[in-house]
Point group: C2
Chain length 272, copies 2
């Protein structure tokens, strides 16, 4: 039986592209947002979900992190995808009055849009491919999306590579329900919440990793939504949650932090 | 002569509200984005600019941080403003087909919009008041903005307090060109860039503050735009840049970090 894999829809999103590169033999199911993909994994409607975690220009994808924090799922793999945006439309550049895309994609092309289309209205859509599907209907609209989405929806490429930097990579998480076995080349993702008042607490937490020579590949803050200056820290480290140094560091941190959630322990990608 | 103060326009933005609370006797000038406000301060077209730095739900305002990093200005003050969004329009809720607002405001109301207006299209505008001005013209549109912006543009309040949490505070920076003298109750804002390869570097940087009992009120990461896992860290600490412990810690950090930029040293707000 084919695996059921959930992604953001409709057809032609970057999430789908990432999912297809990872697993050829699977049934793709489309959802309207990342939280719905992760919720469907949690209630076993899907075998796996593929959702964006972070982007090199815009940072963490908040909705994904919020869902990973609150839902009972595990990251079971990761994948990096280079993201090249195109401006797609039916008409010539002069006809473009409205530019459609997912908020992350609009943000990744902020400089280009300001330079070339400062007079155009910007509208957000649920996904880049949703924008392409809408632009198919209205000649005064253009979409920021993948070139492949343009082909699928019969749009011409008005401009290529419109992202503000060529260093535009999105890291996707493969989300499942159980922790993969150690491979010797793993990564562990954590969310840690420290009480606001404890000023040196983050330093102490990082020290538990530093003294054990555990390499951190990411440390990113995200508002806890409980007040200014109050954060969750999302930390990725090299190693599996069952490796003794990682186990030890986590045991110490659990005594210190108000919340320590392991979001997943999974094989590391070798890609950039 | 009145001071010239720049804010995001048009009339009725939260930035303007913050500016008016801070300084009554001033001429307000309106700009189309935060970078333009800060650029106008840099070239002395303005005495002061008031721009949002971070929000308790959505975190840092990327465009402001990017402009503070790249331009030759100083944060000279700060102010916290409670942000209460309203859904404003001319018609009844059933007529609303399109919801307009600044991307930050749409993000702060993500849950409400999904719950109540999942079928409506979302369009981004340059500011919340710009959204209100547009909603004035089209009865099928509603804007997310301040109640006062609704009054100014003749819109009815369809729904009050539509932000996803009542703990919705935006911290504004007052931006000028020189560093205020120490008051004994100050804050210093820093941007620090560490080379990606140096795993324990952030731990060492935080240690320079911890051993000197310097309290950090914020530590937030933001992508350097040079690759995944590569960040600037924005750190706020209690104290003035001329306080000996702060001076010492900064001297040590400058040896360690690839970039250490003081974004400002200014009187701390007493508000939440």
């Amino acid at each position: 039986m084919k695996r059921k894999v959930g992604v953001l829809g409709p057809e032609g999103t970057f999430s789908e592209k990432a999912a297809r590169r990872l697993m050829l033999d699977s049934d793709i199911c489309y959802f309207t947002d990342f939280d719905e993909v992760i919720a469907a994994v949690e209630r076993s409607d899907l075998d796996i979900g593929v959702v964006p975690l972070e982007n090199s220009l815009e940072g963490s994808v908040g909705q994904t992190l919020d869902a990973l924090l609150s839902r009972d799922v595990q990251i079971v793999g990761e994948m990096n995808l280079e993201v090249r945006h195109c401006l797609l439309g039916r008409g010539s550049p002069e006809d473009v009055k409205v530019i459609l895309s997912h908020p992350q994609a609009l943000a990744q092309c902020r400089g280009y849009l300001k330079r070339r289309f400062s007079g155009a209205e910007q509208r957000t859509t649920g996904s880049t491919s949703h924008a392409a599907r809408l632009a198919q209907e209205f000649p005064e609209m253009a979409a920021i999306a993948d070139a492949e989405a343009g082909e699928r929806y019969g749009l011409a490429i008005i401009d290529r590579n419109v992202q503000d930097s060529d260093e535009n990579v999105t890291r996707f998480a493969v989300v499942g329900r159980s922790t993969p076995k150690p491979t010797g080349f793993d990564k562990t993702s954590l969310a840690i919440y420290l009480e606001r008042a404890e000023a040196g607490a983050l330093w102490e937490v990082l020290g538990e990793f530093a003294v054990r020579k555990i390499n951190l590949t990411k440390i990113e803050s995200r508002p806890s939504k409980m007040g200014l200056g109050d954060y969750y820290f999302f930390i990725d480290l090299e190693g599996h949650v069952t490796d003794p140094p990682v186990e030890e560091a986590l045991a110490r941190i659990r005594k210190r932090a108000a919340v320590t959630k392991v979001l997943g322990s999974y094989p590391r990608t070798a890609s950039p």
